[in-house]
Subunit: 205 residues, 2 copies
Amino acid sequence: MAQQIATNVHWHEGTASREERHKNLGQKGCTLWTTGLSGSGKSTVAVALEQVLIQNGKHAYRLDGDNIRHGLNKNLGFSAEDRAENIRRIGEVSKLFADSGMIVINAFISPYRADRDIVRQLHEEAGLPFLEVFVDAPLEVAEERDPKGLYKKARAGEIKGFTGIDDPYEAPEHAEIHLKTHEMSVEDSVRAIVEALESRGLLSA
Amino acid sequence: MAQQIATNVHWHEGTASREERHKNLGQKGCTLWTTGLSGSGKSTVAVALEQVLIQNGKHAYRLDGDNIRHGLNKNLGFSAEDRAENIRRIGEVSKLFADSGMIVINAFISPYRADRDIVRQLHEEAGLPFLEVFVDAPLEVAEERDPKGLYKKARAGEIKGFTGIDDPYEAPEHAEIHLKTHEMSVEDSVRAIVEALESRGLLSA
């Protein structure tokens, strides 16, 4: 109880502002939205980026299938409607995290341009930075990696509507960051994102 | 660009842990769930608490009708099913914020014990602190305050299913914090919550 805030509570009219929250954190909240094929390297880059930011005293949080599909979005399936609602909810939660001051790092295939653009617009309307990160590996490279064995199942017809096989992946046309993960190391990818954050002044407040 | 993290990116295998995130923030993430009648003082207490925490260098974020009903939950109505889903989603988002290291402060009537208990259980299963804050004002006091004119409309039959009038409010039986806002100042209420946070070691990491 080093702080002992309770013994010295002073309150005045008014609401804490976004600027105060972000200043306290020494950064500006924003959303980094990785998008790419299964096996393109989204999760690897997201995990490494989070680690580097946190080791440098910054505040980041990852949203991914593990903490979203089994929680907030556990009542959604894989119909076209549910896939859109999946991304919409993740977009809304990202906006809340960015508003709070966190650097939120998403790792979802998010194959449809229209869905990603809705999330971008949500952020722009709220005055919060949204950086689309195209994690770009050729299909043959992603399929060769096949870390979860999903391409094999999709090719065998055991999974239907699999992105890149029998469902389209719509590549970003104006991504803020473009990572060719079959030509770049993980450190190179992380560096490119950190440079994008620094050049926009997002790692200070 | 004081930091220049990009020039010195070092990455090794492994994922940043909750403990690292929370240590960076100098606090432990947790959820403060205020519950009470419309007009009981939930928002007033939540706003004041956020302000006091932030002025003391802590990191807090409020979820309330303004940023939830028009965003994440804008596709929900007021049927029994939708009300339960409303609280479920807020609970899942709170859990994510607490996991990230934030002190998340909710201000929703959340009248049903079963819904609140589901959110408590979500947190307990994830090993994250959940503090229920009963913002307790007698109905006649809340109705007299009627800050949004909603009781008047409910009494006139213009709003149906209004908590305290023609829909039940199920008071918490084991709230961690009990605030009788008709007998306590806003500063007293904030102090009681901060003491609860400090006594549990949540304001240090």
